[in-house]
């Protein structure tokens, strides 16, 4: 095994081009487990912790560019206003020690359906900035997950950052685990209201071969909100609408039975989380609306 220590992003890209099977390692929270337990013996480890750029974030007009290695702790502490869904998701990641090391780049690179960041990224809307010596490209998050633990990266590409849309409305994130802390998701759900476009977006984790959006549920809810004039009148969403939305979210799942939970439970729990997060976000939207109206 060789340990490659690029001092800059350019060196990292060159190393990845030279050794396409090299395994990038930053926080190490996935890779080192596999090495410690003898599940993986890559020819090269590509250490990215010396590439300072990956630890920085920067707000643009409509989005925040989050460096691939920005630890979850920093996201929780610094990006709660701009990226509330991702900040909430970050808070559910493993333990404080892990949150101090791990970042979204690792979640994306591993592309496990159980990665905590995925539902939040799907709901908010995001693009993955991937780069190789051949050039840079932005991969829409909806096209990023291609299979169980597979993603759209080419062998010579590295994830440099993720561009996450700034919240233009309330966002929520829920995750079910069988322990109150430090637990891998049995399933997870992210929801973002986008009042500017009068749309909602969802993200579901651990309930299908890849992280997914519940598109039929989104379309149903978009239509129902529009039809009922909810965006304008700020009324409480009728229970039947919330219930139908929850059912459609459950229906979007394609889960398996495994040691962490049954498929049937996952479908059920996604529905419950969908209904609750819809309630929380909508209440928050109504509250903000009232405040705005009160001020006006």
């Amino acid at each position: 095994m060789d340990f490659l220590r690029p001092a800059s992003w350019e060196e990292a890209l060159a190393a990845k081009a030279e050794h396409p099977t090299a395994v990038p390692i930053a926080g190490g929270t996935d890779v080192m487990v596999e090495i410690n337990f003898d599940h993986r013996r890559p020819g090269h480890l590509l250490d990215l912790t010396r590439v300072g750029d990956l630890y920085e974030w920067e707000a643009a007009e409509d989005s925040v560019r989050v460096g691939a290695s920005v630890p979850y702790t920093r996201i929780m502490e610094n990006l709660r206003a701009e990226l509330p869904g991702l900040a909430l998701a970050s808070h559910t990641v493993a333990s404080p020690q892990i949150r101090n090391r791990g970042g979204v780049g690792g979640n994306l690179g591993t592309a496990s359906p159980a990665g905590d960041a995925h539902p939040a990224l799907l709901a908010a809307g995001a693009e993955v900035e991937a780069e190789s010596v051949r050039g840079s490209r932005r991969i829409p998050i909806d096209e990023f997950y291609t299979g169980v633990k597979r993603n759209a990266l080419a062998p010579d590409e590295l994830i440099r950052a993720v561009h996450v849309k700034k919240a233009d409305g309330p966002q929520q994130y829920s995750k079910v685990g069988t322990r109150n802390a430090m637990v891998i998701a049995v399933c997870a759900f992210g929801l973002a209201l986008h009042p500017r476009t009068r749309t909602v977006r969802t993200g579901i984790g651990s309930a299908a071969p890849t992280p997914i959006r519940a598109k039929a549920a989104e379309e149903f809810l978009n239509a129902a909100l529009e039809e009922g004039g909810f965006w304008d009148n700020g009324k409480i969403i009728t229970p039947s609408v919330a219930q139908r939305f929850a059912q459609l979210c459950s229906g979007a799942c394609n889960p398996i039975d495994d040691v962490r939970g049954t498929a049937s439970y996952r479908r059920h729990a996604v529905g419950v989380m969908a209904r609750r997060t819809l309630t929380w976000t909508w209440e928050s939207y109504r509250g903000a609306r009232r405040l705005t109206e009160g001020a006006a």
Binding site: D38, N180, Y265, W280
Partner: protein, 794 residues
């Protein structure tokens, strides 16, 4: 010297500072907080090699061939050994039945069974070499439950059994069977106004001690070996190791290194023999450290069980009879299964008065992972079931569940189903009263000024509810556990105590082979020596095999038995010290001959308080040393047909009240409080007592809501051997645990003490389950209960 069975009075030294009854601090505390305490995995030796075990990838198979040539040819590899390389005719070991191969011979019987061992200069070299060993398996059908084990054409897990249980079991795939019959349950059932029945399932729990199995074997110049290891019983290890190595016990020296928790999981051998074999083969020190994955295969687990119960009662709530059948899955090797059967059967009806019982407990041989000792064994599984039954009965009778328990609670003088009278306090009703009397935690405790604090809600940081679906429930349970080794076992301990003057001060040294696994035995031994010998300076000698056996650190027995041995040896030392005093000073003061003399505060004093001399003067130029064995009252085996017999030496009781909040929609549980009341006889160290109770309570909580080793019923392979998927409670899962300690002396025990470590693990689980049932209205007949069981999505 007190004779066995005589009431032991506290006549000596109770006023000496740091003696019994005080919360003195751990003597190893400083080393443990500075990181300098040497655990078995911290051992290091110049030029040492690393050992690696190759384990079976299948549960049940014939081994067609093993090819080690490629592994042996690997650079950095010093030895590769299989069954064929074992040095003597003794190739098996075991706690009671020697049925466990050191390395698999011709057949593997469970997933993860050791097949070959490697020694190399780096752990990675050893791993790579082990991966190059080619084992050709021919798989056999797996036996995974009672039906497959006792089917007419069932493959025998062990052919040709000739152990001492083989003669009385109904099938060779049953390790041991213990019926207990008393009164006439069938006739008594006729008197019952209400009968409740239940089938319960108890999942496989892991001890999950944090310090992995590990140790260092160093070859000695005389052809022997010195093993530094974490274990619960040095002499039991020694007895099993030496014959396999072909060495006399005197040539296998064992020193206890730091033990990172045990809870029963270190009663059986793990890496001991493998490390010694490799050290003797290579002539170099060999260290073996399991990682967490391997640890799940490297020790036995708590027996999963199926429990079938029938309880009857009259309309006013008096129990008429109990019929039950407990089927314990012992897995591929016997380990402690026979003793688990003994406990499960004899304690199967709980701390209640029932005159007519029909009980049967069996342990199976299967191809599941071997199961053996874990905190409270046998009694834990039974308590889960009989307490569920008591709640079911209370519901059927429309009675308060605590009142029903109190009405039927045993007390001193009650006759056990085994015919044995309970001859010391049994404050079952009082413990329930105390735990019920504690103030309840406030409702909606999760609400804060900034809204719901998710950390206080089911789901915790995962943000699943802000109060929606959350329902509170309260549940009670009480349990009974035997203390010490039962059924006629010669359960003794040995203590060597020395007293001398060092630097002008009298100092006592206590040397035992007791395994300190975290429980605080070393703290208590020093306290006993201070109380008995009136000194403040006590040195605890490292535990090794240079002193007689201390017995196992298990069965809640060490403070009782090794504490008793230390007390006894101290008393013998005290007599010798006073002899010296009489010889030296007897002619100067009549009190030497006439008064009762005590050692206190470094002096010899009369019971009237007159100081006769300083111990420092008395012992000038002299030292006194005694090594003596001490044993508790003898017990007898249970009759194999009727289960009658005075099988236990002491019982221990604890009661719990659980308060839970359940997210009824998502099936997530947050335990809000888990209050415990326990009778400890005499709290030698109150701080340690409470620590034991809170720790035991939390292990019971774990198996109530999350802990289970999941074995695939089709392949008998373990599906979750990691801390990612075998979950134990974090600090956010663990509630406040208020503890009410009762001290009713058992006059048969040293200082009146009661073994305490296990009882809190019993009642914690059923109390949590009862609270969840209370919150949800669901029947819940298995533990752990998982979200899918609470949401109808299993």
């Amino acid at each position: 010297m007190p004779t066995n069975g005589a009431p032991t009075k506290i006549t000596q030294g109770s006023r000496t500072k740091g003696g019994i009854g005080e919360s003195t601090l751990r003597p190893d505390g400083t080393l443990k907080v500075t990181g300098e305490f040497a655990y078995s995995s911290d051992m290091w030796h110049e030029d040492m090699l690393w050992g690696q075990i190759l384990r079976s990838t299948v549960a049940h198979a014939e081994i067609v061939s093993i090819d080690t040539s490629e592994a042996l040819a690997t650079a950095g590899v010093y030895a590769v050994m299989t069954y064929d390389d074992l040095p003597t005719e003794v190739k098996n070991y075991g706690l009671e039945i020697q049925d466990t191969p050191v390395l698999a011979h011709g057949k593997v019987r469970h997933h993860g069974e050791p097949v070959a061992i490697v020694a190399a200069d780096h752990p990675e070299t050893a791993r790579r070499a082990a991966a190059k060993i080619k084992v050709d398996y021919r798989e056999l059908p797996v036996i995974t439950d009672e039906a497959s084990a006792t089917a007419p054409d069932a493959i025998l897990v062990h052919e040709g059994r000739d152990d001492h249980h083989s003669g009385h079991v109904p099938h060779p795939n049953i390790v041991h069977r213990q019926p207990i019959v008393r009164g006439d349950a069938s006739r008594a059932a006729g008197r019952a106004d209400v009968i409740v029945r239940g089938e319960y399932t108890f999942g496989m729990q892991d001890q999950a001690f944090l310090g992995p199995e590990s140790g260092l074997a160093v070859p000695d110049e005389d052809g022997g070996v010195h093993l530094y290891v974490a274990t619960q019983w040095l002499h039991s290890d020694l007895r099993q190791i030496a014959p396999v190595l072909g060495l006399p016990e005197s040539k296998v020296r064992m020193t206890l290194s730091g033990v990172g928790g045990a809870f029963g999981g270190r009663e059986d051998l793990s890496m001991q023999i493998h490390a010694c074999l490799l050290a003797l083969r290579t002539g170099k020190p060999v260290k073996i450290v399991y990682n967490r994955f391997e640890s799940f295969f490297g020790h036995v687990h708590r027996h999963p069980a199926k429990l079938y119960y029938e309880h009857g009662a009259t309309r006013d709530g008096r129990l008429t009879h109990v019929r039950c059948r407990i089927v314990l899955d012992g897995g591929a090797y016997a380990s402690a299964s026979p003793a688990v059967v003994g406990n499960a059967s004899s304690l199967s009806i709980g701390p209640y008065v029932v005159e007519d019982v029909d009980i049967e407990a069996v342990a199976l041989y299967t191809n599941n992972p071997p199961c053996g000792a874990m905190r409270g064994f046998g009694a834990v599984q039974a308590c889960f079931a009989y307490e569920a039954q008591m709640d079911k009965l209370a519901a059927e009778l429309d009675m308060d569940p605590v009142a029903l328990r109190q009405l039927n609670a045993m007390e001193q003088g009650t006759i056990m189903p085994t015919g044995q009278p309970v001859d010391s306090p049994a404050p079952v009703a009082e413990l329930l009263r105390r735990v019920k009397a504690m103030a309840l935690p406030p409702e909606r405790q999760w609400e804060s000024s900034e809204g719901a604090d998710v950390r206080q809600l089911p789901g915790g940081l995962s943000n699943t509810t802000h109060g929606e679906g959350v329902v509170r429930g309260i549940g009670y349970a009480v349990g009974i556990k035997n203390v010490g080794f039962s059924e006629g076992f010669d359960d003794y301990s040995t203590a060597k105590v020395r007293m001398e003057v060092v630097g002008g001060e009298p100092v006592a040294t206590v040397h035992t082979a007791m395994a300190e696994v975290g429980q605080g035995g070393v703290t208590v031994h020093a306290q006993i020596a201070r109380s008995e010998l009136g000194v403040t300076q006590v040195t605890i000698h490292p535990a090794d095999t240079q002193v007689g056996s201390a017995g196992s650190t298990s069965a809640s027995r060490q403070t009782y038995v090794t504490g008793g041995a230390v007390k006894n040896s101290c008393e013998l030392v005290r007599e010798k010290v006073l002899e010296i005093g009489r010889r030296k000073y007897g002619s100067y003061h009549p009190a030497w001959a006439t008064a009762e003399l005590l050692l206190e505060g470094g002096k010899v004093v009369t019971d009237g308080g007159e100081v006769l001399t300083d111990l420092a003067d008395l012992l000038e130029g002299e030292s006194v040393e005694v090594e003596a064995e001490w044993r508790h009252r003898p017990t007898e085996p249970f009759d194999l047909r009727t289960g009658q017999g005075n099988g236990h030496v002491q019982y221990s009781f604890a009661a719990h009240r659980a308060v839970v909040e359940v997210d009824t929609e998502l099936g997530l549980v947050k335990v809000i409080e888990l209050a415990c009341a326990q009778d400890v006889g005499k709290a030698l160290n109150p701080l340690s007592v409470i620590g034991q109770i809170q720790g035991g309570t939390t292990q019971g909580l774990g198996v109530a809501v999350m802990e289970e080793i999941v074995v695939d019923p089709k392949t008998a392979k373990v599906r979750n051997p990691s801390f990612t998927d075998y979950l134990i409670p974090t600090i956010l899962d663990t509630p406040t645990i208020p503890v009410d300690v009762l001290e009713l002396a058992d006059d048969h025990a040293p200082y009146g003490l009661r073994g305490i470590g296990e009882a809190p693990t019993l009642s914690s689980t059923p109390a949590v389950l009862a609270a969840i049932r209370n919150a949800t209205g669901l029947a819940l007949d298995r533990t752990p209960v998982r979200p899918e069981h609470l949401t109808g999505t299993a």
